[in-house]
């Protein structure tokens, strides 16, 4: 699913176009800079406390790889464990199938309203829209997701999805779209949170059906795990009669013991806390405590495609901490919407094109939404080498376009340069031409305007005038 902002051709714009718009949004820039810098510092502080952090990262990467590299048996084991504990397991090949399953499960209860815990997987498949089409209203209960929902908007960050909104906007949204809001409500964050609490409390106390995702699903025991801060997760996971959890197949962990690694890596990497306020784990159904009807919907929707890619499959290790977003100099300035996907930032740039393919202009642009600086790889708790996968996916994009009848200007230029560089004579001749033309284009010792594709450079930067003698020309004469 992509945001409703359309590009010039009516389709979602490619990253560079969307970024241009986002870069001009000064409030977004300020909010993002403040948010990312703050979380960066918090993360650094709590990670510094942990002497064995690198050992934990090694273990985290291995735990995920251990599940991914035997994912078929892990999923079968997970299914057995969940069923044994009183839950029901469903399998969904794609978004449409997952939506159909969830819709029919809700319909079977006779309810027309459900409460939801934040779940990126359900956003990915467009579940709320599918439910609405079936006459079922889904109420988001995460404060940020609520803000996004009320604003008919799109999340811009994995962890703080409404970071693009300031308090005045949130107040306006609440006043416009939230029933029962006190007339004297101000934009003080504590008051806004209290208003959301009151509004949602009503929903929690009467909800019969809830929908969640999960951070982890443990094959050995059939245990699902949800980490959160606000308590809405606990509300949705324990109050209703029926719980439906939509979980990507890559969320599997092999064993209960593996959770001891992930519960140390995730809170410190995401919110920069030693531990998030609430973590809930449950296995199937517990008589007398919580939902008596539990359904696990396992979602593929492109994940097996990523799994098949020897280099790209490491992206499936992701535990959705958002540490990479918070250190990315590109994300910091463009925000999440520019990536046109539920998964933004560095992880989005490598996950989205693998889940969706690289056919569309948007998806083909995502692997290029990076300078390859590597700050993300430094902080990824499960050691995903994001720059390596970005370069790998760029290769896929180029190969997918290589045999077009009309090559792009970039393809022509790159092939021409490679051909030139392939032979000393051609190279030296091109070198002489470059020096000559560079000097002709110069004014006052600088090149201020370049033609064609290179114009984008000189739109904002000068280039120094090439000296009369190239290095090798000087060497020859010395």
């Amino acid at each position: 699913m992509t945001p409703s902002v359309a590009g010039p051709s009516g389709r979602p714009p490619k990253f560079s176009e969307a970024a241009r718009t986002a870069l001009a949004d000064t409030q977004l820039r300020r909010n993002l800079a403040a948010a990312t810098h703050t979380i960066r510092e918090r993360r650094a502080a709590v990670v510094d406390e942990v002497a064995d952090w690198e050992d934990l990262r090694d273990a985290g990467a291995a735990v995920k790889d251990r599940a991914l590299l035997r994912l078929d048996s892990a999923l079968e084991e997970l299914e057995r464990s969940v069923v044994e504990a009183g839950g029901t397991v469903h399998w969904a090949r794609d978004a449409a199938e997952a939506n159909a399953i969830v819709t029919s499960l809700v319909r079977a209860t006779g309810e027309t309203e459900v409460v939801k815990v934040k779940s990126m997987a359900t956003q990915e498949i467009g579940l709320n829209e599918a439910l609405a089409a079936a006459g079922i209203t889904a109420y988001e209960t995460d404060l940020a997701e609520l803000i996004v929902q009320l604003g008919d908007d799109w999340p811009s960050h994995i962890l703080v999805p409404a970071i693009h909104r300031n308090r005045a906007e949130i107040l306006a949204l609440f006043q416009r779209a939230m029933p029962g809001v006190p007339p004297d409500l101000t934009d003080d964050p504590a008051e806004l949170a209290a208003a959301a609490r009151a509004y949602l409390r009503e929903r929690f106390l009467t909800a019969k059906v809830s929908i969640s995702g999960a951070n982890f699903a443990i094959a050995e025991t059939g245990t699902l795990v949800v980490l959160e801060s606000e308590g809405n997760g606990r509300m949705c996971l324990t109050l209703p009669d029926t719980l439906i959890s939509v979980v990507g197949i890559e969320k599997v962990l092999p064993a209960w013991r593996d959770l001891e690694v992930m519960l140390q890596l995730l809170p410190r990497s995401s919110t920069g806390e030693r531990m998030n306020p609430y973590t809930s784990t449950w296995t199937g159904v517990t008589p007398g405590d919580g939902p008596q009807d539990f359904h696990l919907v396992l979602l593929d929707n492109g994940r097996t495609g990523a799994l098949a890619d020897e280099v790209g499959r490491a992206a499936l290790r992701c535990i959705r901490c958002s540490a990479c977003l918070n250190v990315c100099p590109v994300y910091e300035r463009t925000g999440g919407h520019a990536y046109g996907s539920v998964y933004p930032g560095p992880i989005g740039a490598i996950l989205t094109p693998q889940l969706r393919g690289v056919q569309s202009a948007l998806d083909a642009s995502l692997p290029y939404a990076s300078t390859l600086c590597g700050a993300c790889a430094d902080v990824c708790p499960v050691r995903i080498d994001i720059p390596e996968i970005l370069v790998h996916l760029r290769g896929k994009v180029v190969e997918s376009r290589r045999h077009r009848p009309v090559p792009t200007p970039e393809m022509l230029m790159m092939r021409s340069i490679a051909w030139t560089m392939g032979d000393r004579g051609r190279y030296e001749s091109a070198l002489a031409q470059t020096v000559r033309w560079g000097r002709l284009l110069s004014r006052g010792g600088r090149i201020r305007r370049l033609p064609g594709l290179l114009a984008k450079w000189t739109d904002a930067r000068d280039l120094p005038m090439p000296p009369r003698q190239s290095f090798r020309a000087w060497w020859r004469r010395r």
């Binding site: 463009t334 290029y368 390859l372 590597g374 092939r415 560089m421 032979d423 020096v435 450079w457 904002a460």
Partner: protein, 228 residues
Amino acid sequence: MRIALFITCFNDALFPATGKATVTLLERLGCEVRFDPGQTCCGQMHWNTGYHREAAALAARFGEVFAGADAVVTPSASCAAMVRAAYPKLGVEPPEVYELTEFLVDVLDVADVGAYFPHRVTYHPTCHSMRTLGLAGRPERLLRAVRGLELVPLPAAEECCGFGGTFAIKNSDTSVAMVADKIRHVRETAADVLCAVDNSCLAHIGGAISRLRAGVRVLHLAEILAAT
């Protein structure tokens, strides 16, 4: 000590002064420098932009040109990183390539290269030099030993300048937004010279400084170390 100089296509055309400085410096330190004019390009741009077939051909050619060479030394950290990190993926056995400061500190074991450069200088650690090569404090060590040079730390030094190769063209708006902050930090130091071990990043930062008339000179580290 015999050295095969790998100048890089970028420096050959646009920054020959860096190459000359590298030769001057290494000869001053007692090395014999050879330059094989068969060299063209290491293929970094093609590799990073996704033209892997072309990059493989350029890498194979590079491997042939430098086969059996003595220590290969280059004043470009990103090209050294390309050879070291990417060539194995392209099925090419990389020759032993040293980035200049690696060579000076690790092989020649020098910190004071006899340079004199009486200016206030700040140093930007480029991403490849920092993360792929792990240059750590080598460039700063060399700078601190330069007579007359006042080295001031750059705030938020580890943040990317926004060059990113073809990113500067394909995502020019974001690239410029990033360099705006890099320039801001440079100006905070009140340095009159910004130096680095990559002319590609310096061309981007320096090009923006020039367009903005921001009044700071950019210079490759080799040119500072060669100055007497």
